[in-house]
């Protein structure tokens, strides 16, 4: 069992767990992920690593309640345990001194982009971060991201906080102003797709972190395969970071919908058995 050392409810439906996993903490780097399984009947799902503390032997993950597994996860409290916590998996994000890097986070991916922005800043990059959410009540870690960015732009879809609109709008303006050497965009697939489409005409290298369905997370099953630059790649071992201009986004989006019917059925069962019932 991997104990939950700390639970924070960040915003509606988004939670943070700090989990005791010394082996994973010892190796974690920005951009990597873990596979978790709650209990004997649970599925294996990937969660991106948001932070780690090697001394304490802990790893921080942030997740949003979407389907059965994430709802079940959200029911857990400090002191509870998770059956399996495996990682760090995938390749770390390539960090170097690129010059000026724009980090774009959609929704709760601000937690994913934070350690990447921090690593980029430590390498001497000028980091401009853009974080976007649907509305003000879904904004978290603004201060944290600001602390590792030279500039921070916040957008909300409804204009309730920061700038009204999507993250792609300030991104486009920054590109038009020039001097951007690299873009890292992380969030829902559709947001990454449009971020990559925004940067493409400017020819600025754009790294995205893909989030397909996975099972083992170690290159064994091929469930997470995507098409990048016309070649089939496994996100779990070849990624999760890829060049956003080469990703076949429609294929990724279609494959993410593989189990929509089953996810619905599973969630109905979960609700009807009164949450964490048998």
């Amino acid at each position: 069992m991997y104990q939950i050392l700390l639970k924070e409810d960040l915003v509606v439906k988004v939670h943070l767990f700090k989990i005791a996993a010394p082996n994973v903490a010892g190796k974690a780097r920005a951009g990597q992920f873990v596979i978790i399984r709650i209990d004997e009947k649970g599925e294996r799902i990937p969660l991106t690593i948001a932070d780690w503390d090697r001394k304490e032997g802990s790893v921080t993950v942030v997740f949003m309640e979407v389907g059965t597994t994430t709802h079940r996860l959200a029911e857990l409290k400090k002191g509870d345990g998770i059956a399996n916590f495996i990682g760090p998996l995938g390749k770390p994000t390539h960090i170097d001194n690129f010059g000026t890097v724009v980090c774009v986070a959609g929704g709760f991916a601000v937690a994913t982009i934070y350690p990447i922005a921090r690593a980029l800043r430590e390498k001497g990059n000028r980091v401009t971060s853009i974080m976007g959410a649907r509305s003000k009540d879904l904004i978290f870690w603004e201060d944290r991201l600001r602390s590792v960015s030279n500039q921070l732009i916040v957008t909300t879809d409804d204009g309730s906080y920061g700038r009204k609109g999507l993250v792609t709008e300030p991104l486009k303006e920054l590109l038009e102003a020039g001097g951007v050497d690299r873009v890292i965009a992380i969030g829902p697939s559709i947001m990454m797709k449009f971020s990559a489409k925004t940067t493409e005409p400017f020819g600025v290298k754009t790294i995205v972190s893909l989030n397909p369905i996975m099972v083992d997370g170690t290159g064994m099953c091929g469930c997470c395969r995507v098409s990048v630059g016309g070649a089939t790649r496994f996100v779990c071992v070849d990624g999760p970071d890829f060049d956003g201009h080469e990703v076949d986004w429609d294929l990724l989006l279609a494959r993410q919908r593989t189990y929509l019917d089953e996810e619905k059925l599973s969630f109905e069962q979960y609700q009807s058995r009164g949450k964490s019932g048998p």
Partner: protein
């Protein structure tokens, strides 16, 4: 001496009509009477050729004699002294090409059913001697720490043997349960998971410390293990990476690797979805591409999950099929349809990115190729569409690249296998041995066990210097 009895005791099996609706074991195992009758057929010939056919050197005539003489504890002792996983081997070893083919009675068409007797002894032990079974006297500790990476057949065998030799063994497994392919690959109806668990528990009872959830190469590297006091490392991570056909449409929804399909069903228990959280798509018409045991396993799982039509699509003819005869027969009995001399050209998709069919060529056999089997050649203009809503690629596996890619000083072949001494398993990297599918490419459970056994001997020799 009594007249030679050529009436091989048949294996009782579940009725095909019933078994296609459940995941219970197909082969039911011998009764005590059947086991004794079969054991009594062994003529105890002095040549003992069967032992030569066994990669782990089981004293086959001796345990068979013990069954005949009603001395089951002795049969268990003899079997377990060479094989720590007899319940598994008795079920999944291809005895017909190993020990049984060497049997003196094979020429008369009725070799002793060694595999079935092995299974009988293992099952008897589990039922009558408790979970830890026949405990061996604890060996004198050597004080040497040895790491074994991967808890499949090679790793379990190496770990058990090294522990019996007195070494302090830690077994690292990437998945959340031990057993490797025995857990994620081979289905419940062919190898019940309770049997695997019991035999893993036996290995643990020898003092092996099993560490789950550790992906060596990611969570810790081989060199870190060496730095942490492990004097020797055996690498047995298997050949876990699936191969695809590399044809158009392969990434459509509903196209699985056999590894994924079987992992969802066996390891994650998708056959009990939604009680278990992991789903699997089965569909009405399932096309399984390939002709090995894994293809048979995937096809038979799909049938049990409710598919109406299940096809084995194989590019050669039945004679060339690498699957065990017995599994092909089981599949046929259950109603799997064999589309032989057939090879997919592409997968056809629906507008929703779902697989809707497989465009296939009819094939003919040409001259023998490097494998010695006749090369399949597509007949021009023979294309036809096989309607399927799920397709499974069971084309074999490659070594998982994680360990070779993260370990300095190992030599790999162009197929990604680790190069190691054929007999001892020693790699060119000091203190590192390797064996099983990571060295040979995808092969059998028993050959991996043989490699684990030989490496354990060599590690022991090297540690005792």
């Amino acid at each position: 001496m009594a007249k030679i009895n050529l009436n091989r005791e048949p294996m009782p099996r579940q009725d095909p009509k019933l078994r296609v609706k459940n995941f219970n074991e197909v082969a039911l195992g011998y009764s005590a009477e059947q086991a004794k009758a079969e054991a009594s057929r062994c003529i105890q010939c002095p040549k003992r050729s069967c032992v030569e056919g066994c990669p782990v050197d089981i004293d086959i005539p001796d345990f068979i004699r013990a069954i005949r003489d009603d001395d089951m504890p002795e049969a268990v002792r003899i079997l377990k002294s060479k094989n720590s996983l007899p319940g598994i081997c008795g079920r999944v070893c291809p005895q017909e090409t190993q020990c049984e083919v060497k049997c003196a009675l094979d020429k008369k068409g009725a070799p002793i059913a060694i595999g079935r007797l092995e299974r009988y002894v293992a099952d008897w032990e589990r039922a009558n001697m408790g979970p830890a079974g026949s405990k061996v006297a604890p060996p004198k500790p050597t004080g040497h720490k040895v790491a074994v990476v991967g808890s499949g057949p090679a790793g379990l065998t190496a770990a058990a043997d090294l522990a019996k030799m007195g070494h302090s063994v830690t077994l690292f497994e990437a998945l959340h349960v031990a057993g490797g392919v025995l857990m994620y690959g081979i289905p419940e109806f062919r190898l019940p998971k309770a049997i695997v668990k019991a035999e893993v528990d036996y290995v643990a009872s020898l003092g092996v410390d099993i560490m789950l959830d550790v992906v060596v190469g990611k969570t810790m590297s081989v060199d870190e293990l060496l730095g942490n006091g492990y004097r020797a490392i055996f690498l047995g991570p298997g050949a876990g990476a699936p191969m695809f056909l590399n044809i158009p449409g392969e990434n459509l929804n509903g196209v699985y690797s056999a590894n994924e399909f079987l992992t969802r069903v066996n390891l994650m228990k998708a056959y009990q979805f939604p009680q278990y959280d992991t789903p699997v798509k089965v569909g009405q018409r399932v096309g399984v591409v390939g002709g090995g045991n894994v293809a048979m396993d995937a096809a038979r799982c799909a049938l049990r999950l409710g598919a109406e039509e299940v096809y084995i699509v194989y590019r050669r003819s039945e004679v060339e099929m690498p699957a065990r005869r017995e599994e092909v027969e089981n599949a046929k009995e259950e109603g799997i349809q064999f589309r032989l001399l057939t090879n997919p050209k592409q997968f056809i998709g629906s507008d929703q990115n779902w697989v809707a069919g497989m465009e296939c060529y009819q094939m003919e056999l040409g001259e023998p190729d490097a494998s010695g089997r006749r090369r399949p050649i597509a007949i021009p203009g023979s294309e036809f569409i096989l309607k399927v809503d799920v397709a499974i690629a069971a084309l074999g596996t490659r070594p998982n690249p994680i360990i070779p890619a993260t370990t300095e000083g190992l030599e790999t072949s162009r197929w990604g296998t680790i190069i190691a001494d054929e007999v001892t398993g020693k790699t060119v990297k000091p203190a590192v041995w390797a064996g099983g599918d990571i060295v040979t490419g995808a092969a059998t459970v028993i050959s991996a066990m043989g490699a684990g056994k030989r490496a354990a001997l060599d590690i022991d020799k090297s540690l005792r210097g």
